[in-house]
Amino acid sequence: MTDLNQLPNDNVLSVKALSVRLPKGMERSHAVQEISLELKRGEILCIVGESGSGKSVTASTVMGLLPDAMVVERGQIHFGGRDLLQLPEKERRALRGRAIAMVFQDPLSALNPLMTVGDQIEEVLINHKIGDPASRRAKVLSLLGEVGLPDPALMAKQYPFRLSGGQRQRVMIAIALALDPDVLIADEPTTALDVTVQAQILELIKDLQRKKGASVMFITHDFGVVADIADRVIVMEKGRVVEEGTAREVLGNPAHPYTQKLIAAVPRLRETAAEDKAEAAPILQVKNLQKTYRSKSGLWGQERVVKAVDDISFTLRRGETLGVVGESGSGKSSMGKVLMKLIEADAGAILLDGQDIRPMTEAQFRPLRPKMQMIFQDPFASLNPRLSIGTSMTVGPIAHGMDRAQAQTTAIALLERVGLGRAAFDRYPHEFSGGQRQRIGIARALMFEPEIIIADEAVSALDVSIQAQVLQLLAEIQAERHLAMIFITHDLRVASQICDQVLVMNKGRVVELGPPMQIFRNPQEAYSRQLVEAIPGKSF
């Protein structure tokens, strides 16, 4: 499928039949196998794939930053008439940053916390022996301005912890652009960011690419992002390129079954209204809920007060799904934990079946815990690595008086229900993939036959195809058992698909509460409108 009509000098970078071997004992022998790709001058090439598809390994190989455990077996990477893989390390280092630069996923861990932003940009210039102190200072300021940071002179003196996630990523981009590279490799640069910030960063990358004529290799798992930014797309699966073409071809008319499957799994804004469940009986009523975090730095330090949950009220009915959407720091997770009484609320009422659980002590509330269960975000952190799945699932019910044999039968039945089978009962968490663990988390929450399930970003850590399966499972189970669900998420597309009501949160407050059709098609408040605007790939 490679385009043979292109002139060879039109390619800035070309990878030919590259294979990278993985250490023994991994799930497959090669991270990438026989992949070939070309990056043309002045284009944005998106490499899309799920986790483990080899997209990041491809980027690291081009940068020459492969971990020691991985070995390039064969292949060539042509850049500027030379094969990068044949160059000695010293020459490759000179090219890194100057000719090929990289932007990483997590801007907080990629920046040195003990250096000011300005020094970190200047460091690149010093290392490549460019300019004198005065000209370097000027360059730093102009770079900071270019990436859209306000007041560059002040910004240069800041330490990374003072900046927001979006600002940090802008600094990373400024560092990458410091030496005017020909190729910019961006490895999931917006995955750790909120949607509104993501939209701004994508706009910035597109803008800079147009202005500077750089070629961008953009790695992502999100087809929405691809739709917004890509000129050409490469789809990878298990270390191989399965499809390649212009963005319009691949997104509009995918040829390979894997691409078709991926695109079908991308969550989209729902077009039809959900059926009305307003006549069902309320199971949970929340009134004027408040939670404030106070932290003091040092003995005389100023007290920092953060209102995580500020005067929130809503009603959840049986069988209904309430979506809670918001950006990071909006207080949506805190609210979930306050409702579960994992954190004590400061004021307000939480009426569970008409009974206020907020003032209850842990001992009073313990018998009621089975009614409300939680599914956590990180499937790797929510299962105790030292307990077998069976133990994790049965301890709770046994502690609440269920007979051991019955708990086991229930657990096995539920494991079968979530698609894992009885063999999972005696296994340990590390033997499962992320999606499988999330199924276990769901099965565990169902052990008590709860009336309410609070799912905190339950599918955010999963690949799209797995995400679609888990959402499907949740919807089926909810319908079977007539559960009420509070679905906390930052992904508005997911929320629009499964929710009957959507609550938009910002800085601890309710911005807007209404049915998804109102929130997503006709948002009343400025903030919800801004959120909906920022959803990537709306056109597609």
Binding site: S382, R386, G419, G421, A423, A424, E431
Partner: protein, 293 residues
């Protein structure tokens, strides 16, 4: 809808566990393990293979140098076989070291887990108690206590234990504080499990690695401490032999019979370095941050 056919990863056996592999590939750790196993075997099996027991007095062979008259390590001024006394003393010294380790690790773990999980004023009180114990110089505390209490091996064990549990408590408290915030602890709370279950069944297994490391190093330190106190004459009293009081008995004959000091000195050195090597090896093997292959 997917069914029961989702593939599972294969089980990994004990010998292929990554930590075990790392430990096995660590030369010093293997040497340490060999030293400790050899010494323990010698002390507990050796006495049955020797022609003399530790109290038999061979009058004709007083001050016999090593390898004379069937005495592989020679004899002392009374004509007692040093090898027999060394192995017998080793049983006591190693037992004191092990028991002190077990007692101090249990105390330290309980205090650390409770302080780390409860936090608040309970945690503050417990950790200030740790600070208070640390403020005493351990050796002087040991000597003072030994002066008041009749120093039997059991008493020495207790005294060593109560002066060496603080390190474990501090390590465990810090670990528990980070594990406490994990989602699976939240999940356990939301299942309505009791605090003691969460502390000792959910959290404790996840902080076991640093405890094992600290415990191994505590054995080495306890053996050294016992030897030190017994050498000064406040520890285990003759005729019960221990490596420390064997050294004490040897000091006046350093010129005539240097082997009397060298033999128990070597035993102490082997035991202490052996346990330290194992401890360091375990630290490297269990620390997930040191991901060497």
């Amino acid at each position: 809808m997917s069914t029961a056919s989702l593939p599972l990863a294969p089980k990994t056996g004990f010998w292929h566990n990554r930590a075990v592999k790392r430990f096995r590939s660590n030369l010093l750790a293997k040497i340490g393990l060999f030293m400790v196993v050899a010494l323990t075997l010698a002390c507990f099996v050796g006495p049955y293979l020797l022609p003399y027991d530790e109290l038999f007095i061979d009058v004709r062979n007083r001050f016999a140098p090593p390898l004379t008259g069937g005495h592989i390590f020679g004899t002392d001024p009374l004509g007692r076989d040093i090898a027999a006394r060394l192995f017998h003393a080793g049983q006591i010294s190693l037992m004191v070291g092990f028991m002190a380790m077990i007692i101090s690790t249990v105390i330290g773990t309980v205090v650390g887990v409770v302080a780390g999980y409860r936090g608040g004023w309970i945690g503050a009180v417990l950790m200030r108690l740790v600070d208070a114990f640390l403020a005493f110089p351990a050796i002087f505390l040991l000597l003072v206590l030994a002066a008041f209490i009749k120093p039997s091996p059991l008493m020495i064990t207790f005294i060593i234990a109560i002066t060496s549990w603080m390190e474990v408590a501090r390590i465990v408290e810090a670990e528990v504080k980070t594990v406490r915030e994990r989602d699976y602890v939240m999940a356990a709370r939301s299942l309505g499990l009791s605090s003691s279950w969460i502390m000792f069944r959910e959290i404790l297994p996840n902080v076991i690695a640093p405890i094992v490391v600290a415990a191994t190093l505590t054995v080495a330190r306890s053996i050294l401490m016992e030897a030190y106190v017994s050498f000064l004459g406040y520890g285990i009293q003759a005729p019960t032999p221990s490596w420390g009081n064997m050294l004490n008995g040897a000091q006046q004959y350093l010129i005539q019979a240097p082997w009397m000091a060298i033999v128990p000195g070597l035993a102490i050195t082997i035991a202490v370095t052996g346990f330290n090597f194992i401890g360091d090896g375990l630290r490297d093997a269990l620390d997930v941050r040191s991901q060497k292959k």
